[in-house]
Assembly symmetry: C2
Amino acid sequence: MLREGIVLNESMLKVDAFLNHQMDPQLMQAIGTRFAECFRDHNITKVLTIESSGIAPALMTAMSLGIPMLFARKKKSLTLQDDLYTERVYSFTKQETSDITVSKRYIGPNDTVLIVDDFLANGEAAFGLCRIAEQAGARVAGIGIVIEKSFQPGRKKLTDAGYRVESLARIASLGNHRVTFAEETD
Amino acid sequence: MLREGIVLNESMLKVDAFLNHQMDPQLMQAIGTRFAECFRDHNITKVLTIESSGIAPALMTAMSLGIPMLFARKKKSLTLQDDLYTERVYSFTKQETSDITVSKRYIGPNDTVLIVDDFLANGEAAFGLCRIAEQAGARVAGIGIVIEKSFQPGRKKLTDAGYRVESLARIASLGNHRVTFAEETD
């Protein structure tokens, strides 16, 4: 992240080199293995993420746990028209609201869900995924995040709501055009 | 596909159970291994796909080949504003035109590219990815497709243009509400 991340401004970090555009499969596999270790004892039945950049880490986590991965869509597609769980999510990065949807066919009250996403900033996407899981009657075991922007309110909102959040990298600041990591406190 | 695919009409097959919404990581890994075997001798340097459903099979192919994966975006994002290769692609499924983009930073004349996508129908997305690779001066070693709708013109257009197409499943027809596979001819 220090070598290949590009600090665009005080709130945006560009990691296209290994996470959001180009991807390093070995890194993705290591990320998946780590999330699987964190939540190995929770009898997770499904990894839930949102397109597009969440798919790779979620897939590798699901592979490591030996369970299916499910990704929420950001808009309805022509081939996904049956009963859907829908939540409205606002993206601060893209400055737009989108409906995220998951088919009722693939998640239900017998599921224990691990949510995985690439970034945590304001927590909108993660909360939307939690609400979808809970609409389905599923249990949310926790949330695995590749890069957390700890200076934004997402983590606090999620932990205040009772969710366990495991972030692999926690960024305290993007000030002065550089990445400063948070000290480990938990 | 026979057990879990749902034939929506004579041209649309829904495979949300294992490819387009929920994903089976073991199946994705097997798909990646197979594409890697097909193109192992071509000194591929990068696997190129398009968001979202292409990401999983492309990532697994890249993992098997030990190289990076790169996915084209369907619209410009706020964090991806530097020099881009752009191609216009029409989706018959979604009935919309979108600009697909790849950063010039991650593909160039020293690359040999394997294109991977989930579906091949009219070939629009695959052609767009080929054009992007060629804009970059890269060589296209071939195209790996998970499910080919052989009754649509994509394969013929691509092979007529000189591209090698390897499809793991070739569907001859979706008539009579069922999947009929093409006989193997190559």
